[in-house]
């Protein structure tokens, strides 16, 4: 009884466990998993990342004005869907030039609740792929 009374009293003066979120930012480690970033000048268009991705969040589709790169023989363009990505980093492991052409950042993906046609645009790309 007495111990619990003292404990309760001591608890009054403890700092809370929670943080004041928008004012105090959440601590972020360098190694946290975030969106995949890509550099089209370094890419050799081997499409290994596309094959390795479990949910199919990376697509290379033929477009009319593809990025200029001598390796890009078929006129493909890289597309990435952060809403589909599970941040597993399999694509980076599959890539022959990791950290140069493709790497994982620790940035948070863009939140897509208010975008319109967020899925339809991606479905169109998937159609093009077929």
């Amino acid at each position: 009884m007495l111990t619990s009374f003292f404990k309760a009293l001591a608890n009054l003066f403890k700092t809370p466990k929670t943080i004041d979120y928008p004012l105090t930012p959440i601590a972020k480690d360098e190694k946290y998993r975030g969106v995949i970033e890509y550099n089209q000048d370094e890419c050799i268009y081997c499409l290994k990342c596309e094959k390795a991705c479990p949910p199919g969040a990376i697509l290379f589709v033929p477009v009319d004005n593809p990025p200029i790169n001598e390796k890009n023989k078929k006129g493909l363009k890289y597309h990435y869907n952060p809403h589909l990505c599970i941040y597993c980093s399999e694509c980076v492991r599959a890539c022959p030039k990791p950290q140069e052409a493709l790497w994982q950042s620790n940035k948070k993906g863009h939140i897509g609740i208010k975008d319109d046609k967020i899925n339809d645009d991606w479905f169109e790309l998937e159609e093009l792929k077929k």
Binding site: K17, Y32, R33, P54, I86, Y87, C88, S89
Partner: protein, 361 residues
């Protein structure tokens, strides 16, 4: 005239966190019959594994069966594929796998303990345990980069390494948690509001535990020596100080104590791993396609998890069967409910630590 009345609990109910519906047939206060419906969150993952994904991606698919024991699911699946391909992974990768599995067990047991407290009406304890659990979540986030879906284990090893600075940080956090767990031990054995609600309630006898094939903490609280960690040899559990926990009472209190003792044992194992982590590669590339059948079992926080995989040498598997812990405990659950008081039902249910997302897969 009919003597009994039917009282449902769930699928949406204030005392129940999981999408399950029980229909209790009650005679006055006593439950005399139970009927359960568990299929509310069925997602057809077994089907998806054989039609939509190649074998090397399924490790990430099955991790989505359950958020709490995601790592055990990917571990068990990966182990069965490694068995079929016939590759060996490095010793260091094995130790890192155990480290994550045990951290997962720690945070899952803490969640369960906090819910039992909440269901006994002890909100403050619930908050305390949940707050302390945050330390474990942080460790996991530092190691894997993710808070819940770790995606840490892949076929051939693990995805990320631990450096010395990180190991030191983890060790100090684990020591903090260990002190807290010793504090809970005291609370769970001596506090009146907990023992009144828990002692002698929801008993499963030893004989019934065998007959209903109880697993995990539920079985060990009744005195069955069933821990899959003791019955496998593809992870070196014996080397790092695994001890089987056992009680004989079989009531809710015994289940809580089993979980608390397992917490301490898991923390000790994590310490041993971090102190004696061997040098070496964390990933070996395995060549070849899986062929044949394999059954692999593993101890998830809630009990035994089993995967049956059948492959035919191509990238698509023929069959993936997932047997989750809660699923095979349902007969034992129903047996315990029969004869208990209706008012105890939420507390008993929380002590099983059911995971319906696993069950319905």
């Amino acid at each position: 005239m009919k003597k009994t009345i039917n009282i449902p609990i769930g699928s949406q109910h204030i005392a129940l966190l999981e999408p399950v519906r029980f229909k209790f047939e009650c005679e006055n206060e006593k439950i005399v019959g139970v009927d359960s419906d568990v299929g509310f969150v069925h997602r057809g993952i077994e089907k998806a594994c054989t039609t939509k994904f190649k074998y090397d991606a399924i490790g990430y698919v099955v991790a989505r069966v359950c958020g709490l024991c995601a790592i055990t699911h990917s571990m068990t699946y990966t182990a069965s594929i490694e068995k079929l391909i016939g590759g060996e992974i490095t010793q260091k990768a094995k130790y890192l796998r155990i480290l994550l599995l045990e951290l997962d067990r720690i945070h899952s047991h803490m969640l369960c303990l906090s819910h039992t407290c909440e269901n006994a009406g002890f909100e403050a304890m619930f908050m305390r345990i949940m707050g302390d659990r945050e330390d474990i979540m942080e460790i996991q986030e530092l190691i894997t980069g993710n808070r819940v879906q770790f995606d840490y284990i892949s076929i051939g090893g693990v995805n990320r390494d631990i450096d010395a600075a990180l190991a030191k940080k983890i060790l100090s956090k684990l020591e903090l948690v260990r002190q807290k767990v010793l504090g809970y031990m005291d609370e769970f054995t001596n506090n009146w509001s907990l023992s009144l609600k828990f002692k002698g309630v929801g008993i499963l006898t030893l004989d019934d535990a065998y007959r209903f094939n109880a697993i995990g903490p539920l079985a060990r609280a009744s005195g069955v020596q069933a821990d899959v960690r003791n019955e496998i040899d593809y992870l070196p559990y014996n080397e790092i100080g695994f001890k089987m926990q056992k009680h004989t009472e079989g009531d809710i209190n015994a289940r809580n104590l089993i979980r608390l003792n397992e917490l301490l044992n898991s923390i000790e194992m994590c310490n041993n791993i971090l102190e004696g982590l061997p040098e070496g590669e964390i990933f070996t590339k395995l060549r070849g396609k899986p062929n044949g059948e394999s059954v692999v079992r593993f101890e998830a926080p809630r009990g035994e998890l089993m995967y049956y995989v059948k492959a035919n040498g191509s990238a698509m598997l023929e069959r993936v069967r997932i047997k989750t812990p809660t699923f095979s405990s349902i007969p034992a659950f129903s047996h315990i409910f029969t004869g208990a008081n209706y008012a105890d039902a939420p507390a008993i249910l929380a002590s099983f630590d059911p995971c319906l997302s696993c069950t319905a897969k």
